[in-house]
Symmetry: C2
């Protein structure tokens, strides 16, 4: 009888790989069990490792959660940037790609909202979470402002082709605030009650809002 091949009790992984697996397990636990899923034992069971391993790769639980938050943020912003990058190079097409990505999976999902909400709930009392927020939020703001700036400059240029198509920082600021609010609000509403409207309606509402914004700014300029 051939000697049985002894199966290893566990498999060693590169720290980088294991860290990422633990981060993924953390997010999965948040989706499944909400805030109560954020325990060392729940996460390690989800990842298929022992309780002690987490503290070998992360100094403590807060840092693991912060790393998961960082990854979650990066996934969102990265997905958005990629969607915009795949679109045609016109301001309209880029903005439409951004809106479509905002109102489709994996962003438009009740599980995803649940994860965000738990992270937000920690924001005020967790230093690591605050650090991640500060680092990553700027990327998102830059993306939105960039898309809006292109659109507004074009709208200005069409109305006043002979002059500079500059858009004032104040105008851009207000436009970004408004669009972000409408976007987040619609996204929130849909995730909380998915049946009440279709994602395409949300995209349409944002586009209507943007176009009326372009007209308004151009109108102000002509005075």
């Amino acid at each position: 009888m051939a000697r049985a091949v002894r199966k290893p009790r566990f498999e060693r992984q590169l720290p980088e790989v294991r860290r990422q697996a633990l981060i993924a397990a953390t997010i999965e636990c948040l989706k499944r069990y909400g805030h109560e899923g954020l325990s060392i034992r729940t996460i390690s069971a989800q990842a298929g490792v022992s309780v002690g391993l987490i503290n070998h790769h992360f100094p403590n639980k807060d840092e693991l959660v912060a790393a998961a938050y960082r990854y979650f943020n990066a996934e969102l912003v990265g997905g958005m940037q990629a969607a915009v990058g795949r679109a045609r190079a016109t301001p309209q097409a880029r903005m439409r790609a951004f809106l479509n990505a905002s109102f489709s999976a994996p962003n438009l999902d009740a599980d995803t909202l649940a994860v965000w909400v738990v992270f937000w709930g920690m924001y005020r009392h967790s230093r690591p979470i605050q650090r991640v927020q500060r680092d990553t939020y700027q990327d998102y703001v830059r993306l939105v402002r960039g898309l809006l700036l292109q659109l507004l400059q074009q709208a200005n240029g069409r109305r006043r082709p002979q002059r500079s198509a500059a858009v004032s920082p104040a105008e851009l600021r207000r436009a970004a605030i408004g669009l972000t609010a409408l976007l987040d609000g619609l996204w929130l509403e849909w995730c909380l009650a998915p049946g009440t409207f279709r994602p395409a309606e949300a995209v349409k509402m944002c586009e209507v809002w943007i176009s009326s914004l372009c007209e308004h700014i151009a109108g102000e300029r002509r005075r």
Copy 2:
């Protein structure tokens, strides 16, 4: 020497009074410590009572938290209705009162947002919280739709005074979805970063959005 007046070790309260005090303490703990403030010991300390008293007035912690959520919701909706009730009886004045109340204390407050966020985080996994949400959210929706209906009917009536000023349910539905989204989004943004714009700007943005909505609907009708 006069006999010292023995000070009572504690004061008995009517169950109604004590329950309300425990609810207030729960909300206060949420404001101060976030999700981690939601422990029996933290809450009882905040209320100045012993750990055992909570389970004398509430069957368990979840029911106390749900009662706090119910109270928090009722405070919001009640405050809004009162603000609208104090306004002049014109649709514009009522809507403006609603918007002003939305973008001022106690609603527009980072502490308040923190409390909401913790409640939202429990929504998917706590039956009692779901029950409260179902009971109270309808009141808010009814208020917003009522205010919008008045405005839209008036806008319709002015454009077509000779005919019925009816507003289709589909139009009202879309209007309510959009206004709620813009409102919530702006409210969220302000609470997260209070410095970026003034509350009055938020009110103005909502009013601009509503007026363009009125024009749009009236325009559709004229075709």
